[in-house]
Structure formats: C-alpha cells, structure tokens
C-alpha cells in the first residue's frame, strides 16, 4: 500500500477541473488552498467507478480551508474553517 503523498500541516491546492462524471469535489472548493488536517483511509477512485471498479484506491485527506477564503465578504466568526475530505489525485502541494 502506497505511503501518503501529503502530510499533516502541509498546504495543498484542490484542482480546478470538471471531469464529466461524478466527482467528490464541490464547485466552490475547486482551486482553493487549505491545510491537511489528517490523513484518512483509502477508497476506490470515484471517477473510476463509473462503468469500472474504482481501482486503484486513492488516499483521502481531511483538508481545512478558511471560510473567508471560500466566500467573498464572509461575515462569520474569524477563523471559521471548512473541513472537507478530498482524494489524493485532486491535490497538489503549495509552497
């Protein structure tokens, strides 16, 4: 089983792309930068389940994104974050 590519605390960007099949990244989170909060388990790749078997499985990461980076003129409490689980093949490292 492969080792995680990303580590807790690492800055990552979620890809901004739209494959024409089910994928588990909402439009509002595409292209956003967050911090890896934890490394989760493995699951079949959603896009590869469509008339396929999802293999090979992909690692999932819990990513924290500041709410004021998601929404223009965010009016909630400062420091509010979104926690969202994103598959490894949707993430890239950001310095």
């Amino acid at each position: 089983m492969s080792e995680p590519v990303f580590q807790v605390g690492q800055r990552v960007r979620i890809d901004d792309r739209t494959p024409p099949v089910h994928h588990r990244v909402p439009a509002y989170a595409k292209g956003k930068i967050g911090i890896v909060e934890r490394v989760c388990g493995l699951h079949g790749e959603p896009e590869k389940f469509i008339r396929g078997d999802g293999k090979p499985p992909q690692r999932i990461y819990r990513v924290l994104i500041q709410q004021d980076k998601l929404w223009e003129s965010y009016e909630g409490t400062q420091g509010d974050k979104l926690e969202i689980e994103i598959f490894e093949h949707w993430l890239e490292s950001v310095e």
Partner: protein, 108 residues
C-alpha cells in the same frame, strides 16, 4: 467560483427555505433502497459513486422534479442498462406489465 457540475452542485448558491417537515418512507421507496443495496452487493453496480453519477446525469428539470428515491430509481435503471445487466426492452416490458397489473387491480 468554478462552474457547477450538474444540478446537484449547489454549494454557495442562493437557496429557498428548507422544508423540515417529517415524512414517511413509502413501501416502494424501501424497495428501491433494497434494489440498490442488492445491486451493490452482487457487484451489478460498483459503488455509490456510480449511483451518484446516474443522479448527476439527470437533466436539471428531472433532477428538480424528482423526489429522492425517484432519482435513485432512474439512476439504477440507467446504470443497469448502461452496464448491460438489463436491456431497455426488458425494462420497458416490465414497466408495461406492472402498469397493466396495477390497472387490473385498480391501484394505478
């Protein structure tokens, strides 16, 4: 913000009020639930991702007018036909047979 993928991808858009009323689950809805879970267990469909894909391929009009389990039913039919588990003809014949039976029983 990126363009939404399909009518389900609503996060961040203005929405109307949410209907919080409780409602019962109809018997046919349990049946659809059971068919989906059996199809998964038997490997006829691969994962809930595949069911989701069928739901997300609905037109915005269909997506908007269908209830939760109606979307499941449409997606399951689409997926099983796409995978060649059943044919469109078999599905149409079965729908016609069930309709005829219901009309004969006076429940249609």
């Amino acid at each position: 913000m990126s363009e939404p993928w399909g009518p389900h991808d609503l996060g961040g858009q203005e929405g109307g009020p949410i209907d919080l009323a409780e409602h019962d689950t109809a018997y046919w809805e349990w049946q659809i639930d059971a068919m989906v879970r059996l199809s998964l267990k038997k490997g006829l469909i691969s994962d809930f991702a595949e069911l989701r894909d069928g739901i997300e391929q609905l037109t915005p009009d269909d997506y908007g007018s269908c209830t939760y389990y109606e979307r499941w039913a449409k997606s399951l039919a689409y997926t099983l036909v796409s995978r060649g588990v059943i044919s469109e003809e078999q599905l149409s014949e079965k729908i016609a047979a069930v309709k005829a039976r219901q009309e004969a029983e006076g429940v249609a």
